[in-house]
Subunit: 332 residues, 2 copies
Amino acid sequence: MKPNSRLTLFGFVVVALAFATTIVRAQDPLLSWNDTATKKAIVTFIEKVTKEGSPDFVPVPERITTFDNDGTLWCEKPMPVQLYFVLDRVKALAPQHPEWKTKEPFASILKGDYKTALAGGDHALLELAVATHTGMTTVEFEQIVRDWIATAKHPKTGKLFTEMVYQPMLEVLAYLRANGFKNYIVSGGGIEFMRPWTEQVYGIPPEQVVGSSIKTRFEMRDGKPVLVRLPELNFNDDKGDKPVGINQHIGRRPIAAFGNSDGDLQMLQWTTAGSGPRFALIVHHTDAEREWAYDRKSSIGRLDKALDEAQARGWTVVDMKSDWKRIFAWEQ
Amino acid sequence: MKPNSRLTLFGFVVVALAFATTIVRAQDPLLSWNDTATKKAIVTFIEKVTKEGSPDFVPVPERITTFDNDGTLWCEKPMPVQLYFVLDRVKALAPQHPEWKTKEPFASILKGDYKTALAGGDHALLELAVATHTGMTTVEFEQIVRDWIATAKHPKTGKLFTEMVYQPMLEVLAYLRANGFKNYIVSGGGIEFMRPWTEQVYGIPPEQVVGSSIKTRFEMRDGKPVLVRLPELNFNDDKGDKPVGINQHIGRRPIAAFGNSDGDLQMLQWTTAGSGPRFALIVHHTDAEREWAYDRKSSIGRLDKALDEAQARGWTVVDMKSDWKRIFAWEQ
C-alpha cells in the first residue's frame, strides 16, 4: 500500500465515522438526556411495547399516556404560571372595578404586594379565580388566554412562559407520538387555560387536555348560542380526582404516566395498577442552579409520599441535575 | 366493419360498462342511501371541506363531528336500549334483594309489568339507575355491560341490540373517518354504558364518547386503586348540556353534528354557530314499516322544536322512508 492510498483510506474512515455519528445523533430521540439509567428506562419501555410479536406489545389505540403539566412539562416556580395570569388579569380589570382599591385580596395585588394578597389562602384564591375566570363566554376567555400567553414572561428568566417548558420532556412527548402514542395532559391547572396553547407548545390538541374546570351554561345571546363561564367549581383535577378525570375523559387506563408531585401519586398508582407493561415517571427537581430544587417541604409541587412510593415500587425518578443535559431549549 | 367485429365491439362496450358500474358502486361510500338531495348534501359537505385549496377547506385536526346515539345511530324504540339493560339487571340482582319482591318499582319489574314500574317517572328511574349502575367499581361495571351487550336482544326483531344500528349512519361514520374526521358520540346515554362497545360497533374509541355520567371516587381496596361508582349524578348530557359536554371533552366546536330529537337542538345550534362551513343533520323517523314513525308527540325522542328549526335554517333532514335504501344491515 502506498502512503497516499493509506491516507485516502484514513480519510475515508474518518468521514465514514463522522457520518455514522451524525446518523446516530439524528436518530437519538432524547438528545437532551444524559445517557443514564433514567434515559435507558424510557427507551426500553417504548421499545418493548411497540415491538410487534413481543409479549409486551401494546396495540396503537391502547398507547395512552398522561402527563401532569405544572412542574412536569413546564416550570412552576416561583409560582404556577396560571397564578401570574390571575395577577395580570386583576391589574387589567382594575379600571372597571374601582372598589378593588380598598378590597382584599385585590388591593394588595394592585400595590404589587402579592405575598399579602395570597396570604388569604384558599378563600383569597377562590375570590381571585372567580373575578378573573368567570362571567365571560368560553370563546371570550379563550381569546383572553391567547392574548396573555403570547407575551407573558417569567419574572426571573424574562423568557416567555411558553419557553419555560422542559426540553427533555418535549423530546419524550415527540418520541412517544412518533411511536403511535396518544399523549394527554392531566393537570390541576384550568382546562380552558391550557387548551389555547398546548397544541402549539406540546403538540397536544385540546381534546387531549384534562384539567380543573368551572361550570358553564348554554345560553342564547342575540340569537347566538354561547357558553357562559359560571362562578362555580365543576372539577378539581388533583390527587384522587386525577384518575377520575382520566376515566371521565379518556375511558381507558393509560399505560404510562408522568408527574412530579404528590398531586400525581394517584394517577401513577392508577396507571401502574393495570395489567401488562406499565411505566411511571417522576420529575424530581434537584437543580437549584439551572431551575429550582424542591421536594418534601415545598408548598408548591410537594414531592414527599410519591417519592417514597416511587422508591418502593421502582418507578423511574428523573434527577434533573444529572439526567438532563439541558433543561430549557434556549439554554445553549 | 364485419358483423363479427361489431359483435365484438358491442361485447366490449357491455363489459366495459359493467366494469365501470362496479367501480362506481365500489366507490360509493353511501351505498345504503337512495340518490336523493339528502345524500347529495352529505357528500357535497364532505367533499368541499376536504378539498385542498378550496375556500371551504378545513384542516384535519378541526374535522370534528358529533353524533347523538339513541335514535340517531341505533334504534330507541319501543324503549331506549339502556332501559332494557336496567330491567335485565334488576332481574339478575333480585336474588340478592329479597325486599324487591314487595318494593316498587322493583316488584312490578320482577312481575314483568314494566308499564307500572315506569309509571313512577323520574323518581322510579333514578331509583332503578342507582340500584343497577352504582356501588361497583368502574372495571366491574364495564364487564357487566360487556357481558350483557354480547347477548341482549331487541324484543321485537330478536336481533342483538348491536345489530339495531342504522346501516346508512355506519356508512356516514366510515365515510367521514376515511376523510380524516374524528367522530364523537355525544349522547344522553351513560358514558360508561356506551364505551365498552362503541369501538367495535361504530369504530368510535372510548375517548371519543361523551355521555351522561355519575360521580366516581378513587379508593384503595386491598392495596389496589379502584374507582367506585357513586349514587350521585355527575352530568346529564342532554339539551343545553350537550354543548357543555362537547366543550368539556373536546374543547373544539364540531363542524358537523347529527341528531334526531329536541335533545339535540342545542348541539346543532352550537355546531352551526361557528364560522366557516358547517353541517347539521336530523334523522326523522318516518318509516313505521321498517322501523318506527314518530316525531312531535313521541315521549321518547321527541322531534318538534328541532324540526321547525331545521326547516327554518335549512338543516339537512333525513326522511328515513325515502332516503334510506335499507335501515339495518341484516335487512336484505
